[in-house]
């Protein structure tokens, strides 16, 4: 009974949750990514025009649903790619990155340099080892330019 209920909840609400989340991600990415340039190199280009630099952070804790956990256990027997967890982590990473970019926008930045991701499993910390609970952090240095860089055309 528990199993059937869990599977149903996972399949119906989990899938619906995922779809709404992906839609919201796409919408926000469409607005923000053309404005803010992301770069994961350490050295900031043209440092003389930088007006302000500040670290920005975005994070998200993602959990798998009952159905995903079940399929993942099944997958554990045969090996291979765990598609269900892959989409979970991708969503979490996109969410964390978006939150970081939103933070950068709040500071009026147009660029984020040295973008890093960190992923850690906190399911042990919350006491449920069967369920995947993953924390994803994205952080970088948001940069506001004093003036728009004028590109010299050769």
């Amino acid at each position: 009974m528990d199993f059937i209920l869990g599977m149903l909840l996972g399949l119906i609400f989990g899938q619906r949750n995922e779809r709404t989340h992906i839609r919201s991600l796409e919408q926000r990415e469409g607005i923000l990514f053309p404005i803010v340039k992301l770069d994961n190199r350490k050295r900031i280009k043209d440092p003389q025009t930088v007006a302000d630099a500040q670290m920005v952070i975005g994070q998200a804790v993602m959990a798998s649903d009952y159905a995903k956990t079940f399929f993942a256990r099944w997958r554990n027997i045969f090996g291979g790619e765990m598609k269900s967890f892959q989409s979970l982590l991708t969503r979490g990473r996109r969410e964390a990155l978006l939150r970081m970019v939103e933070d950068a926008r709040r500071l009026g930045a147009t660029e984020v340099w040295n973008v890093r991701f960190e992923t850690s499993n906190i399911s042990m910390a919350t006491g449920r080892s069967g369920m995947a609970q993953v924390e994803i952090v994205a952080f970088g240095t948001a940069v506001r330019r004093a003036e728009p860089i004028t590109q010299v055309l050769a």
Binding site: Q54, A63, Y66
Partner: protein
């Protein structure tokens, strides 16, 4: 206090490196959040309660790092990194570390040179047939 995760503060010179500064915090979940999270675990997706909790504790770890840097008299912390680890069941550790540095005083902004319009002394000859206008300087030099 300037906090960046690049190796240097853009547009500023590092005059003195004061050493590693760090801050950590170990946070436990609380029951209300855990009940909500366990319900959420059935349907999956983001656990907003835990995100909030971890954001808060990361902020606290960073504040401790910043306080340590201020004690050293730093102007900025560069190359900041984070680590999260589950230390015991029911608790997560947040760790933030970076290098405290002193910055050289900000250089005075140099005013951009204003392009000054020079009065044109002579009317510029209009080029015809792509031939350069003949001026006196074009006369062959005497050896």
């Amino acid at each position: 206090m300037i906090i960046v995760n690049t190796e240097e503060v853009p547009n500023r010179q590092i005059s003195d490196v004061l050493g590693l500064v760090q801050g950590n915090t170990i946070r436990a979940k609380h029951a209300g959040r855990d009940i909500m999270a366990s319900l959420k675990n059935l349907v999956g997706g983001e656990l907003k309660g835990y995100t909030e909790l971890l954001t808060e504790s990361r902020r606290q770890a960073m504040d401790r790092m910043i306080a340590q840097a201020q004690q050293l008299g730093a102007d900025a912390v560069v190359n900041v990194r984070f680590t999260t680890s589950a230390v015991a069941s029911g608790a997560a550790e947040m760790y933030a570390y970076g290098t405290a540095v002193k910055l050289a005083p900000k250089p005075q902004p140099i005013p951009a040179p204003q392009p000054q319009l020079q009065p044109v002394a002579q009317p510029v000859p209009i080029m015809e047939n792509n031939q350069p206008p003949v001026t006196q300087n074009d006369a062959p030099a005497a050896y």
